[in-house]
Subunit: 132 residues, 4 copies
């Protein structure tokens, strides 16, 4: 499984004075999307952290097309676009019904508690459909 969708509503606390979902909050949604994709694959990110491995964000981008508002019911589609021992790449597409609101990307690396780079766990790569 390399793709997963979640649905949620924009919270009032996530809006800004322009009346829109504030641009920084999209990245917190993307994080929820990755976590839920991992759960749907059978993974457990919290257990992974408790085991001493952390996925840290190395790069992020987002292109905003149409703004979202309070209480909008949104669908976030999260797709793994690359998975290797070095990094994990996701693409995010946020929709309100059929309208694409934004497209984003992230690159994650794996580190230990001290922050030293580690290989992505083989089990995580297998869940992403990589033969290891």
């Amino acid at each position: 499984m390399r793709q997963h969708e979640i649905q949620f509503r924009v919270r009032y606390s996530e809006t800004d004075a322009m009346g829109f979902l504030h641009h920084a909050n999209y990245f917190s949604y993307f994080e929820v999307g990755r976590t839920e994709l991992f759960r749907a694959q059978g993974g457990d990110y919290r257990a992974m952290e408790e085991g001493g491995l952390f996925l840290v964000v190395a790069k992020l981008d987002c292109r905003y097309r149409v703004p979202a508002r309070f209480d909008d019911l949104l669908t976030l589609r999260t797709t793994i676009t690359a998975a290797s021992e070095a990094k994990l790449e996701h693409e995010y597409q946020l929709f309100r019904e059929e309208t694409l609101l934004c497209t984003g990307h992230s690159t994650l690396a794996c580190v230990d508690r001290s922050g030293a780079l580690q290989r992505m766990p083989a089990e995580l790569l297998r869940m992403c459909g990589e033969s290891t």
Copy 2:
């Protein structure tokens, strides 16, 4: 020293669709106020945490009088109203020039890394003017 003031501006990301500073963000300001009061007393909260003691919030309240907007230059007055081995109490008053926008209170307890209750450090109480 039991009272300290800081000045800062409301960030756009802290506003909401009503055009006001969102009510939850006042509590993050209060936290900055406590940290800066502690620094002005000669304390270092980060070092305290690195030493294994944490101040956790047991109670919070806030009464909102006048809303704040993006870019408002605000003054937060933080006052220690009680300090004992069991707890630390602060009062917060947020002003825009002479106008009082809100009044808040917090009660903090001290815990160790495992979350077990600890006595407030004697040095912290001395900084608050308590004879220990």
Copy 3:
């Protein structure tokens, strides 16, 4: 209907360096709880704002008992404890399974676009079981 429950997970972005759900974020949960209770009553807070009436927070408090962590599945029970033309009061209880994590309260007032106090709409009070 005066009580409603929602379930959700703690997001990573809502945690802090102590490893816990940050104390300010509970108030954003409470806001979601009120919105969903209003929706379950047949109301639509967004439409109410579009119609020119806003519910503003006059008072908030929270007593924290047990911390929450990333990915915890929480249940928020929101209860209307008072409803009148002058104000609306809610109580919040946040649970992780059977464990009560915190109890909070809010008092809301109704204002128009200019911020002038208004009576709570009769329809809103009827939804809360008040005869008007």
Copy 4:
């Protein structure tokens, strides 16, 4: 003037369970950087919004190199890298002393209250050193 620096400390509420400044919060810092650069140029973004023109984010990216922690004293250098009637581009470099923590970019467009695209105001472009 096309470059400006601000200094601030990482707030506790901005950290996450990894013990670091959460990656989404960098974008709120960038927004403060742009606002303060505009103020240093003699502009007033709040007045611009009150006049009916809004700068909306069309694209964002950030490359994270070294994490930041609670209470770190950071310097954000904001630079205008392109300014035209169609868009405004900024680069952001965040430092802890001499260490570069991240580099980010944003592209802003100008819209009116209805969300319709507008030309960047001539006065804003002049402040950025563009002859119009």
